[in-house]
């Protein structure tokens, strides 16, 4: 009896508990109506990967995630996720019906910059080209405080300064070339091809300094934007505002000048903003609200470029899901048929074992769908699970082939099941360790689909170890002890095809 891998009582308890836990948790999951959190390629939806245009610190990227999360949640879609993957930001919004609208709102990779207005320029000529460096404005066109000569009683400039025609041959700065440190030429909000453009200096402040902004109507019913600055932003703002006193400071959002207000045009001398201010101009309700929104939420610390954009229609996703599951089920049926033909009674053990595994996996995947931890279940995950059918069944095959060896060596079925399990268990552990090692490494290092594959492969490998010990071991050992002398087609001996032939 020293060879045995467990007392009859402990084997029965372990078998019973495993089956109860597996089907019990499946029942609970179904009763609660929980299901797996389907990935974009199965449920339909939108996924965008953004890369910072310029190298950004970890803290900056965390801030980007927070801002994008606010923005996506502001759209009122559920289940959206924004997270960092390496140096990239991944935004995924599953199950949206109008992906294009969401894309437009999220894709606005707002970066808010405050730049001094140097001068205005006529629209770009047809032959205009991008310039490597923007030359300085001619002095008579420069929008300096001296040239503008603001009249403090009206709040308007005395002089109307014309656009500098020298820039006509220079094209508007492209979004990807629009860097905070550079001189740029940008259009105003709502500008047409024939509108004047702004020549702007390097950014003196970013949206990081703005704490909050709100669109409001002032006493005379005009729409204005009131903003509050952060404690570190306030002195910076005063410095910039003082440098541009009685001149124009452009508020640039993603390559478009939202507004270019005059700084304190009604005051004779500069006074501190004391952490808050008001931007007035020819705002409509919508444009004021947009500016406020951009100032408050849109102030990304870096500009983002979309690396890949993917939208999957819910119908295509559904057909992919049906095709994937169908392939899996047909494959599973073939596998089961083959194992029953090959191993007879032991084949039935595999069928029962796989259904216990499936019940547990479904319960776990559904439960994980309710946490933020697990990746959503996508096509790659389905592949991972289908692959794991092979790994799971292999554990049985390893064990059963060992049983055949033992039986061939002339041992009784009763002692074979114990000895066979011991050596098979070592093999299964070694093989599953390698499989798990691969899954963990891939999950940590790889990006995108491969992570989902690795997660579900790793999960089902762990499940295999668990099931082999708590289910396969007790059921085969119990069967072996009970039916060693049976000669029916369903007996273990028939499946092992050993010791039967000579009768």
């Amino acid at each position: 009896m020293a060879q045995q891998v467990g007392s009859r009582r402990s084997l029965v308890v372990s078998l019973f508990l495993t089956i109860v836990i597996a089907f019990g948790s499946l029942g609970v999951t179904l009763a609660l109506g929980w299901g797996p959190k389907l990935g974009l390629d199965l449920a339909g939806g939108l996924s965008v990967v953004y890369k910072p245009a310029t190298p950004a610190s970890k803290a900056d990227m965390q801030e980007v995630v927070t801002i994008l999360t606010n923005r996506v949640n502001g759209l009122g879609v559920s289940g959206a996720e924004v997270n960092l993957q390496g140096k990239d930001v991944v935004v995924s919004v599953p199950g949206v019906t109008d992906a294009r609208a969401v894309l437009a709102a999220v894709g606005q990779t707002a970066q808010l910059l405050f730049r001094p207005v140097l001068c205005e320029t006529p629209p770009a000529a047809k032959t205009a080209k991008a310039a490597s460096a923007i030359p300085a404005c001619a002095s008579q066109y420069a929008m300096t405080a001296a040239n503008l000569n603001v009249n403090t009683s009206t709040g308007n400039p005395t002089n109307n300064i014309a656009a500098d025609p020298a820039y006509e041959s220079i094209a508007t700065t492209l979004p990807q070339k629009d860097l905070a440190k550079d001189y740029v030429i940008l259009p105003a909000l709502g500008a047409s091809k024939n509108s004047d453009r702004y020549v702007l200096g390097p950014a003196q402040l970013t949206g990081k300094s703005v704490k909050s902004a709100v669109a409001q109507q002032n006493q005379i019913g005009q729409w204005v934007v009131n903003y509050t600055l952060t404690s570190t932003g306030s002195p910076l703002w005063d410095k910039v505002a003082e440098a541009n006193f009685h001149a124009l400071l452009a508020i640039e959002l993603d390559g478009v000048v939202q507004s270019a207000p005059l700084i304190q045009p009604s005051q004779a001398t500069f006074t501190s903003f004391a952490g808050q201010g008001e931007i007035s101009g020819s705002f409509t309700e919508a444009s004021a609200k947009n500016l406020a929104l951009a100032m408050e939420f849109g102030s990304l610390p870096v500009r983002l470029n979309p690396l890949t954009t993917q939208t999957v229609s819910p119908t295509l996703g559904h057909s992919a899901l049906v095709a994937g599951l169908g392939a899996g089920l047909v494959g599973l049926a073939l596998v089961l048929l083959y194992t029953i033909l090959y191993y007879r009674a032991l084949g039935l053990v595999i069928v029962l074992g796989l259904s216990v595994t499936a019940a547990l996996l479904w319960a776990i995947i559904s439960a994980l769908g309710h946490t933020a931890f697990a990746p959503s279940f996508d096509l790659a995950g389905v592949t991972g699970l289908i692959v794991s059918i092979g790994i799971t069944v292999d554990s049985y095959i390893v064990y059963f082939e060992r049983l055949k060896d033992e039986a061939r060596a002339g041992r009784s079925v009763r002692s074979s099941v114990d000895r066979g399990f011991k050596s098979a268990w070592r093999t299964v552990l070694a093989a599953d360790t390698v499989s798990l090692l691969a899954a963990v490494l891939l999950y940590i290092i790889a990006v995108g689909d491969v992570r989902g594959f690795a997660f579900f492969l790793g999960l089902s490998t762990l499940m295999d170890v668990f099931i082999t010990w708590y289910f396969t071991r007790p059921i085969v050992v119990l069967l072996g002890r009970r039916g060693s002398d049976s000669t029916s087609a369903l007996s273990l001996a028939a499946g092992l095809n050993a010791g039967v032939e000579h009768e």
């Binding site: 295509l316 082939e401 055949k404 070694a430 390698v434």
Partner: protein, 266 residues
């Protein structure tokens, strides 16, 4: 137990693990066969290279379910929407996939062309524009995922060699490593030979193959270690003979497992 009396056929011998194929003795034959396949694949790789999908080379693709249309009608529609030289393919029975590369256009132009194509396809398919799937991949995305996948592969190799060295023997780790590289080269060669498109799914498929390769190697090694433990000291049998015995003993398992793994794919 006199099985020999009935002279079992080849399948029965395999079923009972009684095959006596001389794996080790004929190793030159196996090496030559592998070498030929690998050289063919590498040759093709040198001449034809890979057929990379848009996820690796960058580009755009659109997909829609349209049961009642033709490739010609779809091509006509998307060309009118502003695509030059699009690739139009029919996937399965009624899904149309259009591929083109818009990365040379400006961001705003890309968006307007993408939207025009979506509208055109929706019109041909008689569905709402939100039923059209789109995918746009920047030119640098591919190199980024390839780099990460290669990084993962190298670390995976190192970890596996380390694990097998400790669990079994260093020389088995070397053998497992060679086996994985062999399988990798064969797979990659076949992909190049047949001009199959490399997509992220391919990467997953290759990882799966490596996983299975390794898994099988571990199972065989485990048996070799089992059989050689203590026996070799007696001097009656050589290591080669024991490897042969182990290979034959695990042959039925290897074939069964491969079948079980292949079945779900069909």
């Amino acid at each position: 137990m006199s099985n020999e009396e009935k002279a079992p056929n080849r399948f029965q011998r395999l079923y009972r693990g009684l095959t006596t194929i001389d794996f080790v003795g004929r190793r030159r034959t196996w090496f030559t066969m592998s070498l030929v396949v690998i050289l063919l694949g590498l040759g093709s790789l040198g001449v034809r290279g890979f057929n990379f999908g848009i996820d690796f080379k960058g580009g755009d693709s659109w997909e829609v379910l349209a049961p009642n249309t033709t490739i010609a009608a779809m091509t006509h529609a998307v060309e009118n929407a502003g695509l030059s030289l699009p690739t139009v393919e029919k996937l399965g029975s009624s899904t149309y996939e259009i591929t083109a590369d818009l990365n040379s256009l400006s961001a705003t132009k890309q968006l307007s062309v993408t939207n025009a194509v979506v509208d055109a396809m929706a019109k041909v398919a008689h569905v709402n524009p939100n039923q059209v799937s789109t995918s746009s991949v920047g030119p640098t995305w591919g190199s980024q995922i390839t780099d990460r996948a290669l990084e993962a592969l190298i670390i995976f190799f190192i970890a596996v060699v380390g694990y097998i060295s400790i669990r079994f023997e260093p020389k088995m780790a070397v053998a497992a490593f060679v086996a994985m590289v062999h399988d990798l080269l064969v797979t990659v060669g076949v992909y190049s030979l047949f001009g199959l498109q490399i997509s992220p799914d391919t990467v997953i498929a290759i990882l799966t193959i490596l996983g299975y390769s390794l898994y099988d190697t571990v199972v065989v090694f485990d048996r070799v270690r089992d059989n050689t433990g203590g026996v070799l000291k007696s001097g009656d049998v050589t290591y080669g003979e024991m490897v042969n015995l182990s290979m034959n003993q695990t042959l039925a398992r290897s074939i069964n497992t491969s079948l079980v793994a292949i079945l779900p794919v069909f």
